[in-house]
Symmetry: C2
Subunit: 544 residues, 2 copies
């Protein structure tokens, strides 16, 4: 075979090949729209010129402390301007951004700091006592920088920490920031809150961050100058890459230290917010706010939700309040959302229950994800697209992580056979939409029948009184396991075990109906995930 | 220095690294929105499922003829469904798409076919006689396939050619199409209509096509399900990558064989067109249509224009007719538009003349272009950002061509020193926007003073009677050269040499005022570019 003539004398050069990186989005935004408001935080309105300038100062100051390619800078920050600056300034000196979940315990934080080999820590003053506790447990001895957010007036401080603003001010605003040497270079590390074993450090690269940041805008039709409200924690998969998306579309970040209804409604009404993200619990919070906190909106607002399928009643009330809700799905290993419930225009004419059923499905691949399917993990063959046969959800493409840090075994296992094995169980519908059915551990096996705890939860969510439902296996002498339901009620609603039992009988096969209903607060992880292993323990006690 | 820990055990695998290619956009669109209308052409409404299926059949049939990686398939087609199918089907078998400008002469076409080593030619029946003439001159002897567009009823045919639809029908709709082996693989070749010397074959790669296709949507805020009207020839830089953009946003192509006012207005009104592209001449055509052909539009339509700055009067009348006009700029070497006149909201409050002045500037880099500037080509130093000092416009980034086919010398020259040297001369404004001033050849040097022919043309365009103005150098005994203006008038307008002379005296330094005004049809190249070298010849005759 003769050589491909289109490969002769046509090699990559610096003129036609540059590493993909989202850092250039900020440079462009600052250059083209220097005066546009990039960040709103309380009374602060920071322009793109200042945002870019401060990010470069931060990068310069970090470089002055010896930070460079492959060094880890760990941050424990709320959704503040400092956190946004770190998303640019840390990689701009070549370092890797390690965002720590602020709800973790000191021991887990210490593990992360050691495992990530943190050289510098930037902490919000509020979390300084927790960070001090973690550092006392950790082996690493990073330089500590403390951010004193003017919007925070509560307690907390760490003796001897450097002041963040003084640190930034010491940097050069014209610092010649470093492009990645290769788009495969790491931009961030985020530890998964695994239910078992040590947390794993998910390493993301510049290429994937660039592509998912654009994918967010493309997949969700975010127009130029959109205004984004930070109800989603930025420590969660780098805020699903939205810190970078906003620079691409020259939008405005509206920061929020705490997810409470009043400031959310105020931002929606006064800052012209067009987009926000969060779990269904954030929608509940918005929707169940006291009437005097709610505000009239003069435009439709886009709400992107993930973590759990949005219940029908919530969808209806959000629609009435002026929100279009889009269901997304992904994992830390996929940079945040890599799956979208693409909505078909004609579905909006269907009855509410049918719409909710369609919207409960996680959906189809994001544009920058090359492949998504449900495979039998043993044979690696696709399951039939029948909406019933359960397999493992698998991802392939450019928005799948680089791997787990310092964990080649877990990396190889997760990326075996050309697919990222998500560990999530789901089905493939005839129209190609995937739907999660469970994590492997959450399958309830009763009398030899598999029961999807999610299916039972969905039935419960359809009951108007139910705010949150979590179903786990309860040991049973006859059947091995039976479902046990933990329920939190909507504000002002009452119900009882008999009512919910009858409800489930109407909506589920009888073997799937929970034998027990428990009305109590449901334990959650720091990222808001329901701690099913705690519930399984509790159910086990209740079954005795 | 210790090795970067983030590069250990974290290599690319098929699970997390795939070649970027726009071909996957169509696969996704067909999978998620199979029934959505992808292509409208006369009475035809083709769904995404059928579009994808036919593209695979075409790829399969081409593969059956031995086409594979590095083979060239040449097409001479109007803006028809077949042309869209070729943008996917040809690269889906690994081959490279060579689109031929239908306005070229047979000799030039023959040169291209030979230089590109065409193995298969697909021609519209209308252009079959021209293609037959070209093939008689060419050395290559490709298989010829003829497309008989139902929307074309005029003359033309080639004896012995295979029928396009039968050829497609012979292919397998489930053909396992080929991903590029590397995203640097060629996807297309387009010959520039150079004013001197042989045409150069600009080779584009999958990576750049993917990024510019997305860049179009991101830069211009194209929402999901946008409807795009094909007033821009697809043989021109692959229709600026819009054949691929539309699949990314699951939009609808409205085909158009001929750019005439009546079908454009009909499509705008009846097909819900949201976006279209073209040179200012297309806007003139739309705007100067007889009133009974114009239609009321119930929405704003986005018009992307390039090739010449849009004149103020045209901007005003387009605005009144319901169009938002965005000025783009690029070259075949940059996949089409890679520069955008990013509009600032507050500019819309300025007087019309000031808006036109701002909009005449080519602008700033597209999101997927990493760098754009104006350099002194001798020193490769940036010119001062004063809006006056002329230098050469230079591009750097992932939407710069792979190089010129079988022309390593021209490739190296064009991509020297880490920049693509565009050959276009321009200035850099204090706000970072670039503005073209001339091609090197179009500078008029009068009495030692440089005169930008574009500046003189802009002055003429501001006169209400002027539809098209082209200014070139005319030899002059005293001054060496003086400007000579060729002018086409707007429909129904009259003016004369004295009037325009006085107009220019009011708006230009006296040495820039044309010594001669010629009122006659202005010759254009097949891509609509004014043939200044013909005008220079004509001016030289007139000066005798």
């Amino acid at each position: 075979m003769s050589p491909n003539p289109y490969n002769i004398g046509l090699d990559r050069t610096p003129a036609n090949h540059q590493p993909l990186t989202p850092l250039g989005f900020l440079e462009r935004a600052a250059s083209v729209f220097p005066a546009h408001v990039a960040i709103v935080h309380g009374g602060l309105r920071r322009s793109y010129a200042d945002f870019y300038s401060r990010a470069r100062q931060l990068a310069s100051a970090l470089a002055g402390q010896g930070m460079g390619r492959g060094d880890t800078v760990s941050v424990m920050l709320a959704n503040t301007p400092a956190m946004l600056e770190c998303h640019y300034g840390v990689p701009m000196c070549g370092a890797v951004l390690h965002s720590i979940n602020t709800r973790l315990d000191a021991g887990t934080i210490a593990f992360q700091l050691d495992h990530a080999m943190a050289k510098i820590v930037i902490t919000d003053r509020e979390f300084a006592p927790l960070m001090a506790e973690a550092l006392a447990l950790a082996k690493v001895t990073p330089l500590v920088i403390q951010y004193d957010d003017p919007e925070y007036s509560g307690p907390g401080a760490m003796a001897g920490a450097e002041d963040y603003d003084a640190f930034v001010a010491s940097g050069d605003p014209d610092f010649a920031w470093l492009m990645p040497e290769d788009e495969w270079d790491a931009i961030s590390i985020n530890y998964t809150s695994g239910t078992t074993g040590d947390p794993k450090g998910v390493v993301s690269h510049h290429r994937g961050a660039y592509l998912l940041a654009q994918g967010n805008a493309l997949t969700t039709s975010m127009a130029k100058h959109s205004v984004y409200l930070w109800t989603l924690p930025m420590f969660h998969c780098n805020g699903w890459c939205f810190p970078w998306t906003l620079s691409a579309i020259i939008g405005t970040h509206v920061c929020l230290r705490q997810v409470r209804a009043a400031p959310i409604w105020r931002a929606l009404a006064e800052e012209g917010v067009t987009h926000l993200c969060g779990a269904p619990i954030v929608m509940s919070l918005i929707e169940s706010a006291p009437e005097d906190e709610k505000r009239h909106l003069d435009r439709r607002v886009q709400f992107f939700t993930a973590a759990a399928p949005p219940p029908e009643t919530l969808l209806a009330s959000m629609d009435a309040a002026g929100f279009d809700v889009t269901h997304l799905y992904g994992l830390t290993e996929t940079y945040g959302p890599a799956v979208v419930n693409e909505w078909h225009g004609d579905w909006s004419a269907l009855p509410g229950a049918e719409q909710a059923r369609l919207k409960a499905r996680q959906g189809v691949r994001y544009l920058p994800l090359e492949n998504l399917t449900v495979l039998d993990p043993d044979t690696m063959k696709p399951v039939p697209a029948d909406g019933e046969t359960i397999g493992e959800v698998m991802f392939r493409g450019n928005v799948v992580m680089k791997g787990y840090f310092r964990n080649p075994e877990a990396t190889q296992k997760a990326l075996a056979d050309g697919w990222f094995h998500s560990g999530d169980l789901g089905v493939l519908h005839p129209d190609g939409y995937i739907q999660l059915k469970d994590r492997s551990k959450d399958i309830i096996i009763s009398g030899g029948e598999n029961i999807s705890s999610i299916e039972v939860e969905e039935a419960l969510y359809r009951h108007p009184a139910v705010a949150v439902a979590a179903v786990v296996a309860m040991p049973h002498a006859t059947w091995g396991e039976t479902p046990c339901a933990f329920v939190e009620l909507n504000y002002g609603q009452v119900t009882d075990e008999i009512t919910l039992h009858n409800w489930c009988r109407e909506h589920l096969a009888s073997y799937k109906v929970p034998r027990k209903f428990v009305f109590e607060a449901i334990p959650r992880t720091s990222t808001g995930k329901i701690q099913k292993y705690v519930l399984r323990q509790r159910a086990s006690e209740l079954s005795v």
